[in-house]
């Protein structure tokens, strides 16, 4: 039976790196995953900024997105840690706290909607790992690669681990395993769980501090011998892709969906590398 999910686009992927959206579509198709566009969805809304301004707004707008998927009877699939962070956390809070759900439904009532609290939120990497599985993925890898890469988890995929429960956030293996399935090798590095720097509103308001975190990561990546950065979040992707400008570094930045596309023999046009600022030389 085909696996079917509501594809939640978010903001950075469709509006800054549409190649991530494109590669996810082609790779999912190749893996037998059916993506149904979650029509009419908005920003998740972003956990670092919008939630920091008004949790009430954040929760209500997230509930609207969750309700759209609930109506379709589908689990949400996102390729972004920020969207995953917001939608998963909001779904968790609304499933746990009936009073809060009631309050949020009071807002949704204004647009004739109701959220029952049943939507499950999944990350692309988690779906690949759990629902498709490494062995099934390996069968679809037609053009294995031998890249040495930095596995960049970002923050909101595994954390807070108390509610995500996917992997040990201090010493995870999911992404390394997903990378190994393509023939590539994730190189161990210092401070592997260090934030890219973009989150929490830093990139917008405090870019100097954001860049310091990015540069520490880049130094550690260089030291590890990795030649590429593989991420599972368009915001980390953007921070590394744009952040390397004038930095002396030029690691091509690949979203996991793009690495998979390469290892499945898809060409650069199909994978949208033209949107990248740091050239992707394969």
């Amino acid at each position: 039976m085909a696996k079917k999910y509501a594809f939640f686009l978010g903001c950075i992927a469709p509006l800054r790196y549409p190649g991530l959206e494109k590669s996810t579509r082609v790779v999912c198709k190749a893996l037998g995953i059916e993506l149904v566009d979650l029509k009419d969805a908005s920003c998740c809304p972003a956990p670092g900024v919008i939630r920091s301004f008004s949790k009430k707004t954040w929760l209500a707008a997230a509930a609207r997105n969750l309700a759209l998927a609930e109506k379709e009877g589908l689990e949400i699939l996102t390729i972004c840690n920020g969207c995953y962070g917001s939608l998963f956390d909001a779904a968790h809070e609304l499933a746990e706290d009936k009073e809060l759900l009631k309050e949020v439904n009071g807002v949704l009532k204004e647009i004739g909607m109701e959220y029952k609290g049943t939507t499950k939120v999944r990350h692309f990497a988690e779906v690949l790992y759990k629902d498709v599985g490494i062995e099934a993925i390996k069968k679809k890898i037609t053009k294995p690669v031998d890249y040495k890469v930095a596995a960049f988890y970002g923050c909101h995929f595994l954390k807070p681990s108390g509610i995500k429960g996917l992997d040990n956030p201090e010493n995870p293996h999911i992404l390394e395993d997903l990378i190994a399935a393509t023939g590539a090798e994730a190189m161990p590095r210092a401070q592997a769980s260090l934030c890219c720097g973009a989150g929490g509103g830093l990139r917008a308001a405090f870019p100097d501090n954001a860049m310091k975190l990015t540069k520490t990561n880049l130094e550690n990546i260089k030291e590890s011998g990795a030649k590429y950065i593989v991420d599972i979040c368009p915001f980390c992707h953007l921070q590394f892709d744009i952040g390397q400008k004038d930095s002396g570094y030029s690691f091509p930045v690949l979203h996991l969906s793009q690495l998979y596309g390469v290892a499945m023999g898809m060409d650069a046009k199909e994978l949208g590398f033209s949107a990248h600022q740091t050239p992707v030389k394969l």
Binding site: C11, L15, D37, A61, V107, K159, G200, G201, A210, K212
Partner: protein
Amino acid sequence: MPEEIVMVTPDKSFVDLVAEYGGEGVKMCFQCGTCTASCPSGRNTAYRTRKTMRAAQMGFRDIAFSGDDLWQCTTCYTCQERCPRDVPIVDVVVAMRNIAVAEGKMYDPHRKTGQNLVEIGHSVSFGDKQKKMRADMGLDEVPPTVLANKKAMDDLKKILAATGFDKLVG
């Protein structure tokens, strides 16, 4: 000369306000400092997570809200993962940020992000350049989100208005 010791009176109503905004867990904090030691942002800035938790507990508003410290958290959750008291530290930071914003403190770039949400339903801008980029990749020029449906965008706007967000970033 010895430093002058200043007596301060804790403002207990503040921790209740933080709790109201979702940061009740701060009451569990016993000030061990594991959070500060774990904080990547604190290595580059004066932000001290433990100090921020203390400010919330004691109601030291001037410490909590002066300067940019509160806004240096990337919400990476490293502190929270390592907290021996399971304090939901990021929730506390978010609660305090919500209070700061409600009191009128918002950075211009953040306001711009908020305005994007109100105007187009996404947190980043969208224009002809992005449309072309999408079309060149064989995608719909406009993604099938609120951007493609006025009714959906109007619905979102109603939610933003009902929760006071448009006024917050207006």
